[in-house]
Amino acid sequence: MKLINQQIWRDNPENILLDFLKSQTSISIMDILGRIIYVNAQFCKLVESSNEQLVGEVNLLLKSERHVNPLYKGLWATIKRGQIWKGILSSFTSSGKMFWMEATIIPVRNSKGMIDKYVAFYLDVTQETEKNLKLVNRGIEFKTFKGNIPEVILSINEFGDILNISQGIDGFSIVEIVGSSLYNFINPIFHEKVKNVVKNVFNNAKPNRYETMDFNKEGVQTFFISQIVPVLNSKGLVISARISVQEVKNIRDVKQKLIENESRYHNLFQSMKVGIIVVVDDEGKITEWNKGAELAFGYAESEIIGEYLTKLIANKSRKSSLIELLSAVGNLEDFSTSDTVEMKALNKNGLEFPVEFALSKWKTRNSTFYCAMMLDITKRKNLENRLISKTKELELFLYRSAHDLKAPISSAEGLVNLIKQEKINDSVLNLTSMLDASLNRGKVVVENLSLASMVCEKSREISRIDFNKIINNVLKSLNGLENFKSIDFKIDIPDSIEYYSSVDLMNSLFQNLIQNAIKYSISKKSQVRSIIEIKINNIQDGIVFTVKDNGIGIIKKNLSKIFDLYYRENIEDTPGSGLGLYIVKNIVENLNGEIKVTSKVNEGSCFKIKLQNFIYIKTA
């Protein structure tokens, strides 16, 4: 209608109106009995019949006053009374297609004041109504508690104008509502919120929901939950949105429960003495805290509410603590909990104490809150520190005692050497050599003990390992051993190996492994030459190396024992302390590695060790 040029409209009002009516509106005129006396072309098109077929017949659109449907009864009653009737009617075309019209029927009186004609105007609303019907059907499909909730389904455009509605509300009919604004039916305090939701739905084409509250006719608070779903055209653009509104009927119970829950949790929270709970708003001000916090920090609730959280953080570490805190806050998702953070806290008396806390965050309508649940870890920290110093003490004790034990053994050794030079008889000589052997064994034990203690002490400095150098040095230091000269060493170390660890630990690892291999290399089949193979390979996050010999091997049932403290294979034949492989295992465990051994009697043993690279552990 807006499209009609105003100029033309002013000049030829009748023609324009007629043209408009002809082209847009279906018109039929009926006599007093409901028989058609005039139809326009539009009407013929609508019902898919010709003028000739229609004129003189009863208007099927309006049925008759005798129709069972109260709609038609009401219609006829209205127009017979001389009043105008407005409403939606449906019928079928002659080809059987259903159509919907918005009809306005005006009774026309003759000169005597009697009604002799009815003029009916029809607007085709088939499309909209079908959409509405679809919505209603869909709504019914989705509705799970249809029985107790009256549901209104409506569709709106971007600006909140109602395009369609499934039923009248608040005493307004569908026709009256269609075209008006959605916001007329929403409590003004929710306008902003709903506008945002609607905007979001149209912009992002994603379903959403909103809750509103209003007072009904009796003045009782009524709550509504509205689901809003975008309707897309074939190009994927949002052309309208469908809203289904549900009244929350049992809101009273829900509310009551909410209040109960709230007071219950509040009490629980307030009375908790074990943990320290501090709630902070987004400005860092404390809004709530519990009994536990009161006990830990010493402030009364009235003193601390509204203060900044920094008041509770120790001065010295405030800056670093805050940085850590901020990064923890930054990582927080809504309604989630962070990893625990350790921090120094400060109580009212100025005493610092370590706390560990988990941070969580939640959002209410307008503001964000952070909740810190802390645990006073003073006791645990003290214990931890004591444990660390005790461990160090123990390591030192082991180291010292190993060294101190060596001194008297060395002295005795010297004395035995002197005795051997004296003029003594054979039996005493025999005894002294036995004494010498036993002293030697004692010395080896103590030596290894001090080495083992070094393992604990020396495992902290990390640098790049030069395996060639370590193995060469180990071989040099071992070349005094009995079988050394008769062994072929095959060493295979690729240059590409990049491994970081403690040099001292690697030294003792190879020292013990190679020494072990040499010790048990005595091949009973003398024609076979002894071979010791040392191989190192890179793996994804570390190295694997093997030390393989073709010596006497280990009996299967003893394999599990070889790493035990003081365990020795072939006690009679080979000297040793039973510490070597124990140290090896200790080192490997210390470095989070794995050790495996395979062996066959008279064919040899193979030690396979897997170690992780320290660099990888660091970056991981």
Partner: protein, 150 residues
């Protein structure tokens, strides 16, 4: 090389002193042995005998065997104290650590000290003594290559 006339022993353990004396006696009866149970007395003795104004070279010790683990003042502290005494003529004194410790740490620390020219693991034997006296420091150090001296 100056013939060895005087050997000085510093050890808190009487038995070790006795054994070492006997070993040296077995090696060469002509060598004079002076022994100290207390490191501080030994230091005082050196202050006098190595003093640049003491011209009695025949009584000066040529070799000193020094224990590491001693109460009061351990071997390393002894070396440091001696180094601080600027006016002493230490050039002709070969100091050899004689300890029961075989920890690479101790060996490393000892051999890096400018005043120390050797390291012997207890107990002292005639062979070890012979080797030590007839070998100089550079040659000696090659034995301890794995300790990474530069």
């Amino acid at each position: 090389m100056i013939p060895i006339r005087n050997i000085m022993l510093v050890d808190d353990n009487k038995i070790d002193l006795f054994v070492n004396k006997k070993v040296i006696e077995t090696y060469d009866k002509k060598i004079r042995v002076i022994h100290f149970e207390r490191a501080l007395s030994a230091l005082e003795y050196l202050k006098i005998s190595l003093h640049e104004k003491n011209l009695n070279y025949t009584t000066r010790p040529n070799v000193m065997f020094l224990d590491i683990n001693m109460p009061q003042c351990n071997g390393f502290e002894f070396l440091d104290a001696l180094e601080k005494q600027g006016s002493l003529e230490v050039e002709n004194l070969r100091i050899i650590m004689l300890s029961s410790s075989s920890s690479p740490d101790d060996i490393y620390k000892a051999l890096r000290h400018p005043l120390c020219s050797g390291y012997i693991n207890k107990a002292l034997t005639v062979e070890k003594l012979h080797e030590m006296i007839n070998i100089d420091k550079k040659e000696y150090l090659t034995k301890y290559d794995f300790l990474n001296f530069k």
